[in-house]
């Protein structure tokens, strides 16, 4: 028997917060229903309990709530998601309630959306290469199953196209396994969300998708719960139904702003740019839910999307994200202006888990050396590009000119590709060799000489035939 207590002792309302007094037996982290004078219901969560005083955050905001006529019901449980296989194909609100007009989920079970941390000992290391068909990812920053790899974007950059392309193309080579897509929208526009959903419709993937949608005009505080609903659904699908789940969280900057709003309302000592000091820990409890677990078939691969305010990578949201996630794909405005699409800024982008996902038997033996060399050459070419913009091309040495040509070609041919082009990884690797064929062996220090001898000749030959 669940004991639900009801109080009409609201003392203060400030911002998204409410203080309720004379409460007996409130528990930290549990949820409440707030019934307004007009009978409508809002949802809240306990942030702090001190003696009989309870501080609540109200997910839908406090507008229109008054002190006298509100009744707060303490539900004596944490925020939960009702799950069953029926969640596939459904759309929920940011608070986990059906939004698509469909029936309520008949729960197989209810799961606490905060879940619990994975025991590090129980983790299995992600090492299965996911082919995305995007060269700047597959060739240089390979994604593996169970990885959390965010996209650092900026206002107006095409992250929606990239996430759609990922959802469309991502496959593990040679395997046909149960997969699912979980999409959490946090404060993005209707258009952006619809673009993604339409794409899922077109490919038929919609039936294997679960969506939690909080749009720009939906309550901001709700966004604190949205990614947790999504990851709870993902954990259920991955670790109980053995599916390989791709989770897209878009946009984590909006999530962080909601956290900041709560923190400010609580008058907490602010950290950098007003974000709370616990932002790192909080983000970790979201991102670290990705992964693989020993003995379980499924996996959770997460691609969070965030917009960097002023394209600044050192802003707390991208900064703390990068400190937690296993790499980052960074989009560049200058490349976007040059019409390079996807405008992946290759140098600062990184996949930390690539090393165990590539190589012989996974992609190809030359993969690691090849990307190391491409990076080194492109970095040098970029420097030359910069030098050329300062001093003019004429001031460059012959060497520098060569590297600059390489960088230009690399951006135009390797990084740039159509959003509907699905390049097999071998094609990506060959493209790398082809670009490097303009250099002598001595310049290819990062590649094992045996690999050069094995893979390079046909490209050098093709070059000399062209000449």
């Amino acid at each position: 028997m669940l004991s639900i207590k009801e109080y009409q002792t609201v003392a203060t309302i400030a911002g998204p917060l409410m203080l309720v007094e004379m409460v007996d037996e409130a528990k930290y982290g549990h949820i409440v229903d707030i019934e307004l004078g007009d009978g409508s219901i809002r949802h809240g969560q306990i942030l702090q309990v001190e003696k009989d005083k309870v501080l609540l955050q109200v997910f839908e905001g406090t507008r229109g709530i008054d002190v006298k006529r509100s009744t707060v019901r303490f539900l004596a449980k944490p925020l939960e998601l009702a799950v069953s296989p029926e969640i596939l194909g459904r759309v929920f609100t940011g608070l986990g309630e059906p939004k698509d007009g469909g029936p309520a989920i008949i729960p197989e079970k209810r799961l606490d959306i905060n879940s619990r941390p994975i025991n590090p000992y129980a983790r299995d290391y992600p090492n299965e290469f996911i082919q995305t068909g995007i060269s700047s990812i597959d060739g240089l920053n390979p994604l593996v199953r169970g990885q959390k790899l965010p996209i650092f974007s900026g206002a107006g950059l095409p992250h929606d196209q990239i996430t759609a392309q990922l959802a469309r193309q991502a496959t593990v080579l040679g395997k046909a396994e149960e997969f699912a897509v979980v999409f959490a929208a946090m404060g993005i526009t209707f258009e952006a969300a619809q673009f993604f959903i339409d794409d899922l419709h077109q490919t038929g993937a919609i039936e294997r998708a679960v969506m939690f949608v909080n749009l720009a005009n939906d309550p901001a505080i709700e966004r604190i719960a949205t990614p947790r609903f999504a990851l709870t659904a993902a954990e259920y699908l991955a670790f109980e139904l053995d599916m390989h789940v791709l989770v897209i969280l878009n946009d984590m900057t909006n999530y962080c702003e909601a956290l900041r709003e709560i923190s400010a309302a609580r008058k907490e000592v602010p950290g950098r740019r007003g974000y709370p000091g616990y932002l790192y820990t909080d983000l970790a409890t979201v991102y670290e839910r990705s992964g693989r677990i020993k003995g379980k078939k499924g996996s959770i691969t997460t691609v969070p999307v965030l917009t960097m305010p002023e394209d600044d990578k050192t802003h707390p949201v991208p900064d703390l994200t990068g400190y937690i996630t296993e790499g980052q794909i960074i989009l560049s405005r200058p490349l976007h202006r040059k019409a390079i699409s996807p405008p992946v800024d290759v140098l600062p982008s990184l996949s930390r888990l690539k090393d165990k996902g590539i190589g012989e038997g996974k992609t190809r033996e030359d993969h690691a050396d090849l990307y190391n060399q491409l990076y080194a050459a492109y970095a040098r070419g970029k420097e030359a590009q910069e030098l050329a913009t300062i001093m003019g091309e004429a001031a460059l040495s012959e060497e520098d000119k060569k590297y600059m040509t390489f960088a230009d070609k690399f951006e135009a041919e390797y990084v740039s590709q159509d959003y509907y082009e699905n390049r097999p990884v071998e094609a990506t690797l060959d493209l790398g060799w082809q670009l490097l064929s303009m250099f002598d062996n001595v310049e290819l220090k990062r590649i094992d000489i045996k690999l050069i001898e094995k893979y390079m000749p046909k490209f050098r030959k093709a070059n000399s035939e062209q000449d």
């Binding site: 028997m1 669940l2 004991s3 639900i4 207590k5 009801e6 109080y7 009409q8 002792t9 004379m22 007996d24 037996e25 409130a26 528990k27 930290y28 549990h30 702090q48 309990v49 001190e50 003696k51 009989d52 944490p78 606490d112 905060n114 879940s115 619990r116 941390p117 994975i118 025991n119 000992y121 129980a122 983790r123 299995d124 290391y125 907490e268 950098r272 000091g277 616990y278 820990t281 970790a284 991102y287 670290e288 992964g291 677990i293 050192t314 990068g322 937690i324 296993e326 140098l347 600062p348 690691a368 990076y375 080194a376 970095a379 040098r380 001093m391 062996n441 001595v442 220090k445 000489i449």
Partner: protein
């Protein structure tokens, strides 16, 4: 759903039930705010006592006392906890268990064995579990090294346990115990069985066991401190040759995300020439710990040929695990490290990342509503950091037989935005003797380790020469590194000139300096952690490699004097051999000396054709 509705009226006075409770030992929760819980009725409790909190019996530690109120940092998630629930004082400070069974363990921040937790509770961490750090069932074979009647006191070694094929675990008399040993006998014991008695002069008897306990926040005792003067060889060229750390020394690695802090820490954990490695994953990624767990049993220690796991202890309190336990994790790690040091071993501790530890302090401090200093960190941040690194050192251990040992600490620091003015970086730089500055720009070029050669430093450089058995070679290596560093500094200046007036302005010797500096960077400093040969380099090989690069430089200088064009020099085939010297296995390092001969031959040819 069957529900009971209880209405409460505004006017109704709040009645708090005062339950009968033990006067000193049990209090009641009055406040829950995230990881901090306040309990009343705690008169008699002491600071840093461990308490059991709430109906779930979570583990916590008292961090503030005010009247009968105790503020407690709880090592587990507090959701579902509320006022009125009990808090029990265990009357003991947070301690770790020390004894056979530590090696090859992986613990959370408060020494709960993670494999056991996974076995008993599943893949996800549950709450309120109590698990001893050491296995109580396993028997260890104990061999006394002293006889009955020996007078012993704190720190004396009374016997040994062969913990695994590599580590001999010395059993020491715990602090506060002294007297005559009786009934000591070889045999198989569990860690908490009595292996001997110790009769003090006042007639009191203590039981000696294979295990002892130690409060983590206190440094373990030593006899005296010595100056760390031997290099802790890491096999990482930029570190050993240019910015070495010593056995007993301290180092820090700050850098933005993705600059290579963790890879350097992993590399050191793998290849340092220490007897014991304690690796603390403090508030970082789960998969990084998995990586260590999967690799260490497979990788072999080049000195012993044994799997690296057999000398390692791992502490994993990842970023999503409770923040208070993260705060404790570095102390748990350092105490275990000190314990092995006390046996006379060379121990190295890596903490990745100390920033997460500092942030945990900040998080707790904020919830305690303490006055913040810079960036919201508590005012005692710098003091805590200093006290932590002070636990490193080369020492004369307490007790008999006399023995020397060392404990090195290498801490990663993760400053926001990579900004080195960050409080944690600054407080750390105040105390550590080695600074490996990781630069984002180098990492973007995939120049790894991305340790900046211009801003990093080591106060232990003078110890480098003693790394070599041959004294002359040691002195020569010292000169080579000075030489190489000079060229790298010159390169920075020359590149500045190029940026202003273009490459045309450079003299042939300047061009050569640029090329050699590039060669030092690419062929020596750059080291691929994931290449099976390149992953670590012996001191002897480091010497050969650097000598060869600078030999080319010297030879090229005289060729230029003889009128050879720099473009000709740069085209020499031998340069490719120099570049690939890093991939020559240790067994073949004489091949590197051969490259120097090839250099001379090819240069000679150039000179002759120049004259002709």
């Amino acid at each position: 759903m069957d529900t009971t509705h209880v209405s409460v009226w505004r006017e109704e006075a709040h009645v708090r039930k005062v339950l009968a409770m033990d006067e000193t030992k049990t209090g009641r929760i009055v406040k829950v705010a995230g990881p901090v819980v306040v309990a009343e009725g705690m008169t008699g409790a002491r600071m840093y006592d461990v308490v059991r909190v709430g109906n779930l019996n979570l583990i916590g530690e008292i961090v503030e006392l005010r009247g009968d109120l105790a503020s407690i940092q709880v090592y587990e998630e507090t959701t579902g906890m509320g006022p009125g629930e009990p808090v029990t004082d265990t009357e003991a400070p947070l301690s770790v268990e020390l004894g056979p069974g530590l090696i090859e363990s992986i613990y959370d921040g408060i020494q709960r064995p993670l494999p056991l937790l996974a076995d008993t509770e599943g893949e996800f961490m549950s709450r309120g579990s109590v698990m001893p750090g050491l296995n109580r069932e396993k028997k260890w074979h104990f061999k006394p090294t002293i006889a009955d009647g020996t007078k012993v006191s704190h720190g004396d070694i009374i016997g040994e346990v062969q913990e695994n094929t590599q580590i001999v675990h010395k059993i020491m008399v715990p602090s506060g115990v002294s007297g005559n040993v009786q009934n000591i006998a070889e045999g198989d014991y569990t860690v908490d069985q009595t292996i001997a008695l110790c009769a003090a002069e006042d007639g009191t008897e203590s039981n000696l066991k294979l295990m002892q306990e130690w409060p983590v926040r206190n440094a373990r005792q030593i006899r005296s401190r010595l100056t760390p003067n031997r290099v802790l060889v890491t096999g990482q060229r930029v570190i050993d040759s240019f910015f070495p750390v010593t056995k007993g020394g301290t180092a820090c690695i700050p850098g933005p995300f993705g600059s290579g802090k963790t890879v350097v820490q992993h590399q050191l954990a793998k290849w340092v020439d220490a007897d014991i490695v304690v690796y603390v994953g403090c508030g970082e990624r789960g998969n990084e710990m998995t990586d260590v767990l999967m690799e260490f049993p497979k990788l072999k220690d080049p000195r012993s040929g044994e799997p690296l796991m057999k000398r390692s202890v791992l502490i994993a309190n990842t970023s999503n695990m409770p923040v208070a336990a993260r705060e404790a994790s570095v102390y748990t790690g350092i105490t275990i490290a000190e314990y092995f040091r006390d046996m006379g071993y060379i121990v190295a501790l890596m903490a990745d990342s100390t920033s997460r530890w500092a942030e945990a302090m900040r998080e707790i401090s904020t919830r305690l509503e303490e006055m913040p200093a810079e960036e919201g960190y508590p005012a005692y941040l710098a003091a805590r950091i200093a006290a932590f690194y002070e636990r490193a050192g080369r020492v004369q251990c307490a007790g008999n037989p006399e023995r020397e040992a060392a404990l090195s600490i290498i801490g990663a620091v993760s400053p926001p935005g990579g900004d080195l003015s960050d409080s944690v970086v600054q407080a750390t730089l105040h105390v550590v003797k080695v600074f490996w500055s990781l630069e984002g720009t180098l990492a973007y070029q995939r120049h790894f380790p991305a340790i900046s050669w211009l801003t990093s430093y080591s106060f232990y450089k003078d110890s480098l020469r003693d790394c070599f058995e041959d004294k002359d070679q040691g002195r020569e290596m010292e000169k080579l590194t000075v030489n190489a560093m000079g060229l790298l500094e010159q390169e920075a200046e020359l590149l500045e000139i190029v940026r202003l007036v273009g490459a045309e302005a450079l003299s042939p010797t300047d061009r050569l300096a640029l090329e050699t500096a590039r060669s030092i960077r690419e062929d020596f400093l750059h080291q691929n952690a994931f290449h099976e040969v390149d992953t670590h380099t012996s001191m002897a090989k480091q010497y050969e490699m650097l000598k060869t690069i600078l030999h080319f430089h010297k030879q090229a200088l005289s060729a230029i004097e003889a009128g050879v064009e720099t473009t000709e020099i740069f085209k020499l085939a031998v340069r490719e051999e120099i570049a690939r010297a890093k991939y020559i296995p240790q067994a073949d390092i004489t091949k590197i000396a051969k490259i120097r001969e090839t250099i001379e031959e090819q240069m000679k040819q150039l000179r002759t054709s120049a004259v002709a």
